[in-house]
Amino acid sequence: MTDAKSFPLPSDLKVVPGTEGAQAAYPYYTQFVPEDDQKFWFYNSMHFPEPMHHFDMITAEAAYVALGAFNTRVHVLPTAKGIEHRIINGRVYIGGVAVTDPAEIEERIGEFQQRAFYYYEHWERLYDQWKEKMKALIAEAQALPKPELPAYEPLETTHTGKGVASNHALLDIYQRQVEGYHRMWHHHFEFLLLGYGAYMTFFDFCKKAFPEISDQAISRMVAGMEAEIFRPDEEVKRLARRAVELGVDQHFKDGMDIDTVLAELDAVGNSGKAWLEELETSRNPWFNVSSGDGFYHYHRSWNDDLAMPFAALPGYIEKIRAGTNIERPTEQLVRERDQLVADYRELLDTEEDKATYDQMIGLAHRVFPYVEGHKFYCEHWYTNLFFNKIREFGALLAEHGFFGPEGREEDIFHLTQYEVESAIIDLMLAWGSGADARGPKHWPAVVAERKAAIAEWAQHSTSPALGAVPDVIDDPAIVMLWGITRENLDSWLSDGSEDTNELKGFAACSGVVEGTARVVKSVEEIGRIQQGDILVCQVTNPTWSPIFQRISAAVSDIGGSMSHMAIVAREYDLPAVVGTGKATQRIKDGQRIRVDGGRGVVTILEDEARDERVLEEA
């Protein structure tokens, strides 16, 4: 199918003119070199759909350090080691390291079975232990003080003989925060591949036994019911119910100003205060969910911006007033899942297959709570704490003029993690010496250059893959985490000749809906979504679920059939297509589109947007 077509080589890819400085600032080990032409690479648009800020590159680096360690040396996957990554024009390309020597594979199979099987056998205990580890790690991060530099050291330092001055704390906090972030990624990969592997085992069996089964049917059979991902939305529903019970529900209206509402509630007496206490209970920890996927500093959490949960409150309150039960019917969902598992089992021809099916679904159900639950702790909760701590450093550096007179705390994300450390040392030196820091003369130009580069890179699309296409993709990590298969690659190669009004993605939840596309690029825009609109966004995850009550279908750039968005869409029985790659670029706000969630196809029905609602600048 590939014909004469092939992907460009890494050496064919040129740095966008004018951005050479910004490109050179990425670490040397992430730059393409001539030898890389020998290898196959693909653009990790799933996790990194936008050009990366220099600091955010740590999300790739820390993740691949840990993923590689667990694949290569902890679990010892027989056929695949870790992931190499390269950066060009702000885009992250990755390539697997395959094991091809049969003797080595054989040796690794022995190691793998001793190690991975131990995890499977003790899954529940190890996972409970994992949660404790993660909670401890989160507590450590929460305990890190805000970085500050007093004019004089507090007398206490002298009286206690502390012997360490405040500037040292800057380096200590920063390094501990970076260390904690790396540790979080190790924990993240402690179970992930094994969990996906058990799921894929069942998935493959189903695809063989039922060649035309949809991915979503398999996902429904495996989905966990108690997973943390549903909890934030459930908390919003709880708050809606409490608002009605406490008689303060009239304060919540569409388009409300959140600060005003909070002030009103504080002023109206005990019932208002009681609701605010309920809000605090929900916020910690459940509003520590990111509105994105946790790979960009600008994906903020509900706690940082209450717009998302508050946007959902009026709708939920209205339903509760009307007597509708909006709580998640967990028991019914469990029954439906079990019925589905039983119904498919009944279709198998032989008793042997039924026995295999039971063994596989049993394992998949055991491991799945981790696959669904880990993100809340890792990509959401910990990552939010991490980026917010870096923001505090950003504020401190901005306060000391490091980003110029117009500098903002967010400017820190234009520095690499190593540059941030050097800027901190610069500040530590200056605070100590009493002389001027060099940063204020050095960083503003750097930040300006990188800001311009990121804006420029965003204008250029990049090849989905580089180098010669391998005959088979046999790396379980690449297949499982990125959904890359030989067929995908062939379709990428044929891209360009296809109908430009049609976008293909993963069929996440079936049903066909036509409606007005609402292309939403960030949480601030959710107020624009009207009843019946089709949500088109980059990443969808559980934090978007509160607005699922308003929309008629959902489309995303990123995500697979097991992505959280897909799981939640199925819960709401909302037609959804995920992982289209480019919906937010190709679909214009206000266009009429058709979403076919059963086939994973989105069709643009008219060229011109006729119902464009302008977003007011916040």
């Binding site: 094994l194 894929m200 049917a217 032989t350 079936s510 049903g511 066909v512």
Partner: protein, 345 residues
């Protein structure tokens, strides 16, 4: 044996007297599936007629003695016997029974379908479907009787005679039942397979349909719309909406004819999602009733109500079943994960 029996009185076990089609329609009716009402002119009716014919001049002996390779002789016998079946008087009791049943079925002379229902046709192992006849949109008692005779006459078509002679089937066992059934004035119609005709997958239902009567789909004159639906989940994973240039509809004087579809409806799906779900439900019920996958013919009347016209066991894939399992169980269930982690899949 009664000359006429109603669908509600018979089942598959009555196939020797009501034929495959009649037995199946009876079975579905008894199972509570919505089938257009009708009756079967039994093999008993045919045999009484045959006795009357034999009394005047031999029939069976003429066929038995023929050499199937002598096409001229076969043609001559065929023409003679078919003429006799169509022209010679029916025993009056038989004719009265059929006319009475018809009056009950179509008190206002509503159109009916007349279809042969051979005792061997539709059998799982001996399908020679196509050798018998179906007449659609038959109007009035006289036309109906004429069509019943034509169905009987098809037993003596050149093809039928040759087939029986080449197979060495005894002429004594040859009989035919005829189904007379109220017509559905179909808005759309088609077929449904309760397992995939492409892969044999039992977890999906494939539905094909087009505007108008189902004859256009069955005969392959129109490329139908096609859907693949999760049998258990109801997900619609394939929607192939075709350009259905024409449809078959009732002709003014009886029978059917083809009319062109206006462009506006030609590319419209002929079923809504709700109708697909209703069909899926009926398909599942029939499959559960028989305990095996089915090939089904269906129609939706002008009000969108679902009617079942025919159901027979799927034969192609069931012949391949009971092959090796997909994957045998493991003594240690964890070993299954090696199919993912252990290398080339």
């Amino acid at each position: 044996m009664n000359s006429v029996v109603w669908f509600s009185e018979v089942g598959i076990a009555d196939r020797p007297t009501v034929g495959g089609k009649g037995g199946s329609l009876g079975e579905l009716t008894q199972a509570g599936i919505q089938v257009p009402p009708g009756f079967v002119v039994t093999t008993g009716a045919f045999e009484q007629f045959l006795e009357a014919l034999e009394a005047r001049e031999p029939v069976r002996a003429k066929v038995s003695g023929i050499n199937p390779d002598d096409l001229g002789a076969v043609t001559k016998v065929s023409e003679e016997l078919r003429r006799r079946v169509i022209e010679e008087p029916l025993p009056s009791a038989v004719e009265q029974a059929i006319r009475d049943a018809y009056r009950e079925l179509s008190p206002g002379e509503e159109p009916v379908a007349v279809r042969s229902s051979a005792t061997t046709e539709d059998a799982e192992d001996a399908s020679f479907a196509g050798l018998q006849d179906t007449f659609l949109w038959v109007l009035g008692a006289d036309q109906m009787i004429e069509r019943v005779r034509e169905c009987w006459g098809s037993l003596y078509s050149v093809e039928s005679i040759c087939y029986r002679r080449k197979q060495g089937l005894p002429e004594d066992g040859v009989a035919m039942a005829v189904v007379v059934q109220r017509m559905v004035d179909a808005m759309c119609a088609g077929v449904m397979f309760t397992r995939s005709p492409l892969t044999g997958d039992k977890s999906v239902i494939t539905i094909e349909g087009a505007w108008g009567l189902g004859s256009a789909v069955v005969s392959g004159e129109v490329t139908p719309d096609r859907w693949v639906i999760g049998k258990i989940t109801g997900e619609i994973s394939v929607r192939d909406i075709s350009d259905k240039h024409a449809r078959q509809v009732p002709a003014p004087g009886g029978g059917i004819h083809e009319v062109a579809n206006e462009e506006a409806i030609a590319k419209q799906p002929c079923l809504t999602d709700e109708q697909l779900m209703a069909l899926r439900e009926v398909g599942r019920r029939i499959e559960r009733h028989y305990g095996k996958p089915q090939d089904i013919e269906w129609a939706l009347d002008q009000d969108g109500q679902v009617f079942l016209l025919q159901s027979r066991p799927e034969t192609v894939w069931s012949a391949k079943d009971a092959a090796a399992p997909v994957k045998p169980p493991e003594d240690n269930p964890l070993k299954h994960v090696m199919s993912i982690f252990g290398g080339k899949r």
